[in-house]
Amino acid sequence: MARITASVYTSHVPAIGVAMDLHKTQEDYWQPLFAGYDFSKQWMKDNKPDVIFLVYNDHATAFSLDMIPTFAIGTAAQYKPADEGWGARPVPVVKGHPQLASHIAQSVIQQDFDLTIVNKMDVDHGLTVPLSLMCGELDPVKDAWPCPVIPFAVNVVQYPVPSGQRCFALGQAIRKAVESFDEDINVHIWGTGGMSHQLQGARAGLINREWDNNWLDLMINDPVACAKVPHIDYVREAGSEGIELVMWLIARGAMADVNNGERSGPLPQVTHRFYHVPASNTAVGHAILENKE
């Protein structure tokens, strides 16, 4: 039986990818941020998963207004890093896991989540920046990501985006799906995006350190309550793009202490936690939670 052993949470700020691609990680501006991921890179080596289920949002890259899926799961064999207008990031191609992805799609649709199945898509910074942060700089040709990745894209661009509760319930359905897969493999689930940021208008640059950290506390310790936070709170307190945080609830809902919409049993172990301001317009949040027997 496959199992989810850990969840990883991280912002996916495009400027972080640029800093890595231009080898600026040791500059004064960036050094404190990347220092927060030193532990994580070692942890990834020591706890290499067989597959990463990576929840992110597409930023008008693979999906234009022609078609806006609320939830899209990638079942392809591979995904190219996208050209978002500045040229494609020089990182390895992302290998998929068609078999597990199709299995999850089938199971989750039968649990009444109305997924869109995607077999052809380029992946933008929302997916590649978390991989870079957790795996370090890699040569686009000679190196490879440590394992296959299943991209799971959530619409947070056009309202209405899915509610925190819907995302939290989806995480539970994904765990059920993974646990009904026959192969004995180790899966990590990642929630990406956030923390507080606003990329528009007179309020651009909003950062709410206190709200971010309270939200993170709640997400870890009382995810049932966290899932009930309404959209408007994210927008008002954490900026219009802070809404990306709902995606973290998908990963949190897939942890072993969540059953039938409630918490039961011990909390996951908080292996790592980090918070930093700024990265470009954004506050950066990061955590690693592990299921421990």
Binding site: P14, A15, V18, Y29, H59, A60, T61, S64, L65, D83, E84, G85, W86, V157, Q158, Y159, P160, S196, Q198, L199, Q200, G201, A202, R203, A204, G205, L206, I207, N208, R209, W211, P230, H231, I232, V235, R236, E237, S240, E241, V277, P278, S280, N281, A283
Partner: protein, 147 residues
């Protein structure tokens, strides 16, 4: 429409909902076209001619040519689509976001280094935070327009 839109009372913030999306459909489609290098070149060579190929309103075209992102957003643009214009101009997300406040690049960058914009006074329209309508534009922009 009777659907609840609780996000209308947040200062300096336009939520890209179905209504905005309808308004900005061609503006955002134009932006998507800039993901191809040959289209970026054609646009830069003759902005007006390139814009005229799209079913955009005159107001939208003017806002694009003026690089007035606030105006573009009010006319249905979404920041992730509008970012393609910035990419075409070689601008970063930080430069684009800053440009919407009236602050200079340095002022905005320094605000971020100092911990970002405070939420105090900026939660509801009618408070007195720096993002409120009566305090625009901010920074260098306010001086220019003030004289």
């Amino acid at each position: 429409m009777a659907l609840d839109k609780p996000y209308k009372d947040v200062p300096g913030t336009i939520i890209f909902d179905a209504e905005q999306s309808r308004l900005g459909y061609w503006l955002n489609q134009f932006c998507t076209s800039l993901m191809k290098a040959e289209n970026r070149a054609r646009f830069l060579a003759d902005e007006r001619a390139y814009l005229d190929e799209w079913a955009m309103t005159e107001e939208q075209k003017q806002a694009v040519m003026a690089r007035d992102l606030n105006r573009c957003m009010a006319l249905g643009g979404n920041i992730y689509f509008l970012a393609r214009i910035g990419a075409t101009d070689g601008k970063s997300f930080q430069q684009m976001a800053g440009s919407m406040t009236g602050m200079s690049e340095e002022e905005y960058r320094n605000m971020m280094l100092a911990g970002g914009r405070s939420v105090e006074g900026n939660r509801y329209i009618g408070e007195d935070g720096d993002a409120q309508p009566h305090r625009q534009p901010q920074g260098a922009g306010s001086k220019k327009e003030g004289n």
